[in-house]
Symmetry: C2
Subunit: 125 residues, 2 copies
């Protein structure tokens, strides 16, 4: 498994767009983010370029413009971020962290039963 680049706070927003769309032009990313942020389009371009430099996204030329797509898996990045988070905040001990997380979370009854099911499954075997 290749090693993942470090993705900054702002860059995560861009990556999430690319992961959700599969691929997109710079402008599509800009539009998609327009609702959520007040970034200047230049800023979005910069972030895309940096991500490309880091190897987090790749692109293929399409006429004069590029079509960008993720070069790293979302699940992997999330896992990395999660581990980093637990280490930073809890020094690596996951359970107290999960406990606090659950306590604090706003969960629907369905959510709760699904999570319980997952725990069941982990419990056996």
């Amino acid at each position: 498994m290749k090693k993942l680049p470090r993705i900054s706070e702002s860059e995560w927003l861009v990556m999430r767009v690319l992961w959700s769309k599969g691929e997109a032009t710079a402008n599509e990313v800009v539009e998609e983010l327009a609702g959520r942020t007040k970034w200047n389009p230049r800023t979005v371009k910069t972030l895309i370029t940096r991500l490309s430099g880091k190897g987090a996204v790749k692109y293929k030329k399409e006429g004069r413009m590029y079509r960008y797509y993720p070069a790293v898996g979302q699940a992997d990045c999330v896992r990395m971020e999660r581990k980093s988070f637990v280490r930073r905040v809890y020094g690596g001990t996951t359970k107290p962290m999960l406990a606090a997380f659950i306590e604090d979370a706003d969960l629907s009854p369905q959510d709760i039963s699904e999570l319980k099911k997952i725990l069941e499954r982990k419990g056996k075997e």
Copy 2:
């Protein structure tokens, strides 16, 4: 509730020491961290100073030296970090995040049953 300063990755290590000890001199922090990091003592001092500047730690003079202690609550900081994490990585939707978290976690049977108990409690009412 006062607003919390932003604590960087490295600074978290220092804060965790202060939270766990209640208070400490700079050198005590250095010693405590000696096992976990290869930081130069100067670096630790710098981090403490910065945290002090941010208002995350306070100190009282004690003879020629300072005794530092946290000025912000650990629970509050953890909650903030947690929210920031969920927002960054999952765009704010907590449940899928928790699910993946649990899937991926290394949990003892006791952990599992405790977590289930927490879920139970959240479920009723």
